[in-house]
C-alpha cells in the first residue's frame, strides 16, 4: 500500500453505512453499558441465591435459623433477580443498542433511559430486600411489593420505552425490520401485563387466572419477544445473508402475539377455574406451533450450509443454541399443556426444568451471544481472551444440560409416583433427591461459567485489551477506495 495515500475519513460519503453504524453505537454506549453492567451484577446475585436455594432442598436443615435465609424467600429472590434483574436488564441493554442500529439513527433521550435503568435497579433492590424481610405480595413472579418496589420498575421501564419510541419516531430507515416489531411490542406489552398482574382487587380463582395471565405473558410477550428480536438480528447479521423467509417472520410475529397471550391458563390445567378458560389456553398452546415453526424455519434454515460459522463466532454459538432451545422449549410446552401429559408433569420438577430451558437455554444464551457482539462495538476493543469465552461457553452449556436432564428425569418419576394412589407421597419426594443433588452440582458449574463471564466482562470494560486508534468494525478500508491502489492486496 502506498504510504502517500490518506485513509478515507470515517463519515465520508464513501462509507455512509459505516458512519450510520458508528453514530448509532456511540449514542447508545452509555445507557447500554449501564444496563449490561447492572445485568451482570444481578446475574451473580441471582446465581448465589439459586445455588443456596438448590442446596437447601436436599439439605433442609442448612441455614434455617433466620427467616431471611429460608428456602421460600431465597428461591423467590433468585427468581425475581434472574427475571427482572439479569434477563430484563440484559434485554434493556440489547434493546437500546439494537433499535438505533435498526432505524439508522442515534438513540434519543439516552439520559432518560439511563435514569430509567437506575430506577429499575432501585426497585429491584427494594423488592428483593422486602422479600427477604417477609414482604411478599403472594403471587408467583409478582412477589415484589406492589407499592414500594413495583412502581420503580414501571416508571424506569417506561423511561426506557419512551427513549426507544422517540428514537423509533426519528427513524431514518424506510422499513421496520422484524426485530423492531418484537422489541417495541415487548415494551408496550410488559407494563400492561405487569399492571394487570399486580392489580390488588382480584380474589380467589380470578386471582389465580390473572396471576398466570401475567406470568406466562412475562415469558412470552417480554422475555421471548426481545430475545427473538435479538436472534432475528444477530443470525443474519453475522452470516451476512437475510433470513430465509421474511413472510414467515410476519406470520411468526403476529401469531405469537395473538396466541401466546392466551396461553396462561395452561399453568392451571385441572385446577378450579372454569373449564372453558383452560381449554382456550390448551388450544392456544397447540396453535403456538405456527409461530414456533415459522421462527424455527426462519432461524434454522438461514443457518443451513453455514454451520461452520459456529466455530468462528461465539455470538452465533450462543444465539443459535438459544434459538434451538426456543424451539425445543416451545414444543415441550405445547406437549405439557395437553391434559394427558399434564397429569403426569404438573406440580413436578419437570416444570422447573422446562422453565430453565426457556429462561436459561433460550433467553440467557441469546443475551450472552448478544453481549459478545455488542460490547466490542461499544468499547472499541475486541474481547481480551478467546480462552475465557471457550470456558464460559462450555461451562454454561454443560451446566444447563445437566440441570435440565436431571430435573426432567426425576420430574417424570415424581409425577408417576404421585399419580399412583397406592404409592406413598414419601416416594415422590425420594425419587427427586438424586435430581436435586445433580441440579446443585449443575448450579455450581453454571456459577463457574458466570464468574468467568463476569470476570471477562470486567477485563473488557476496564480496557485490558489493546485499544485501537481506528475504530474496530467502523474502520474504513482506504485501499479499496483509492484508485491508485488498484491491484493492491485485499
Amino acid at each position: 500500500m502506498s504510504t502517500s495515500t490518506r485513509p478515507t475519513p470515517v463519515g465520508s460519503l464513501d462509507r455512509p453505512d459505516v458512519d450510520v453504524r458508528l453514530r448509532a453505537d456511540l449514542s447508545s454506549r452509555g445507557p447500554v453499558l449501564l444496563a449490561f453492567g447492572s445485568a451482570i451484577v444481578w446475574l451473580l446475585v441471582g446465581t448465589v441465591f439459586g445455588d443456596v436455594a438448590s442446596f437447601k432442598l436436599h439439605l433442609p436443615d442448612w441455614l434455617v435459623q433466620q427467616g431471611w435465609l429460608t428456602f421460600g424467600r431465597l428461591r423467590t429472590v433468585h427468581l425475581n433477580t434472574m427475571i427482572y434483574g439479569w434477563a430484563s436488564l440484559a434485554m434493556v441493554g440489547v434493546s437500546l443498542w439494537i433499535i438505533p442500529r435498526l432505524v439508522h439513527t442515534e438513540l434519543r433521550y439516552g439520559g432518560l433511559a439511563r435514569t430509567g435503568i437506575w430506577l429499575w435497579n432501585v426497585g429491584l433492590v427494594i423488592g428483593n430486600l422486602g422479600v427477604l424481610a417477609g414482604y411478599n405480595d403472594g403471587l408467583e413472579w409478582l412477589e415484589m411489593h406492589r407499592y414500594f418496589a413495583d412502581p420503580w420498575l414501571v416508571v424506569g421501564g417506561g423511561m426506557v420505552g419512551i427513549a426507544l419510541l422517540v428514537t423509533l419516531a426519528a427513524r431514518e430507515a424506510d422499513h421496520l425490520y422484524v426485530s423492531v416489531w418484537y422489541v417495541m411490542a415487548a415494551y408496550l406489552w410488559f407494563p400492561i401485563i405487569f399492571a394487570v398482574g399486580n392489580w390488588p382487587t382480584f380474589t380467589g380463582v380470578e386471582s389465580g387466572a390473572t396471576n398466570w395471565f401475567y406470568a406466562h405473558n412475562a415469558l412470552g410477550l417480554w422475555l421471548t419477544a426481545v430475545s427473538l428480536g435479538a436472534a432475528y438480528y444477530f443470525i443474519p447479521k453475522v452470516l451476512g445473508r437475510p433470513v430465509y423467509s421474511y413472510q414467515l417472520s410476519l406470520l411468526g410475529f403476529w401469531t405469537l402475539a395473538f396466541f401466546y397471550a392466551l396461553n396462561g391458563m395452561h399453568h392451571l390445567v385441572g385446577g378450579p377455574i372454569p373449564e372453558w378458560m383452560i381449554t382456550t389456553s390448551i388450544a392456544a398452546s397447540a396453535l403456538m406451533l405456527i409461530p414456533v415453526l415459522a421462527t424455527a424455519v426462519n432461524l434454522h434454515v438461514t443457518m443451513v450450509g453455514r454451520f461452520g460459522a459456529l466455530r468462528y463466532s461465539p455470538t452465533l454459538r450462543f444465539v443459535v443454541l438459544g434459538a434451538i432451545s426456543y424451539t425445543a422449549v416451545s414444543l415441550q410446552g405445547m406437549l405439557t399443556a395437553l391434559r394427558e401429559v399434564n397429569r403426569i408433569t404438573h406440580f413436578t420438577q419437570w416444570t422447573i426444568a422446562h422453565s430453565h430451558v426457556g429462561v436459561y437455554a433460550f433467553v440467557t444464551f441469546v443475551m450472552f451471544g448478544s453481549m459478545y457482539y455488542i460490547l466490542p462495538r461499544l468499547v472499541r476493543r475486541e474481547w481480551p481472551s478467546a480462552l475465557l469465552i471457550q470456558w464460559h461457553f462450555w461451562l454454561v452449556l454443560t451446566g444447563i444440560a445437566l440441570y435440565v436432564i436431571a430435573l426432567t428425569v426425576v420430574g417424570v418419576r415424581q409425577g408417576l409416583a404421585m399419580l399412583d394412589p397406592q404409592v406413598p407421597f414419601q416416594r415422590s419426594v425420594e425419587v427427586t433427591i438424586p435430581g436435586l443433588v445433580a441440579r446443585s452440582v449443575a448450579g455450581l458449574v453454571l456459577t463457574a461459567g458466570h464468574l468467568v463471564f463476569v470476570w471477562h466482562y470486567w477485563l473488557m470494560v476496564r480496557g485490558r485489551a489493546p485499544a485501537r486508534e481506528t475504530l474496530v468494525f467502523h474502520e474504513a478500508r482506504p485501499i479499496l477506495y483509492e484508485p491508485e491502489a488498484e491491484g493492491a492486496l485485499r
Binding site: D17, P236, A283
Partner: protein, 82 residues
C-alpha cells in the same frame, strides 16, 4: 377424553380463523409489499462484503460476484476475541 378434544379443536379453529382473517385484511391493505427489501435492511454494504472464513469457495465467489471485492473482517468481528 373425546368431548374435551373436540372443544380444544373447535376453539382452535375459531382462534385460527380470526387470526387468518386479520392476516388477510393486512395483506389486502398492502402490508406485505416488498418484503425482500425489508429483510435486507439490517445488512449494509460492509456486511455483504466481509470475508467469512466459514464460507465455502463457492459461497465466497457468489458473494464477490454479487457485491464486489471482499473485505477482511476486523479482529473479533463475529463476537469473539481476536
Amino acid at each position: 377424553m373425546f368431548p374435551s378434544s373436540l372443544a380444544v379443536v373447535l376453539t382452535g379453529l375459531l382462534m385460527g380463523g380470526v387470526a387468518l382473517a386479520a392476516f388477510y385484511w393486512a395483506w389486502r391493505r398492502g402490508c406485505f409489499r416488498d418484503l425482500e427489501a425489508q429483510s435486507r435492511i439490517i445488512l449494509d454494504d460492509r456486511d455483504y462484503r466481509l470475508h467469512r472464513p466459514w464460507e465455502s469457495p463457492e459461497q465466497r465467489l457468489d458473494r464477490e460476484l454479487h457485491y464486489g471485492t471482499l473485505e477482511p473482517p476486523g479482529p473479533g468481528e463475529w463476537g469473539g476475541a481476536a
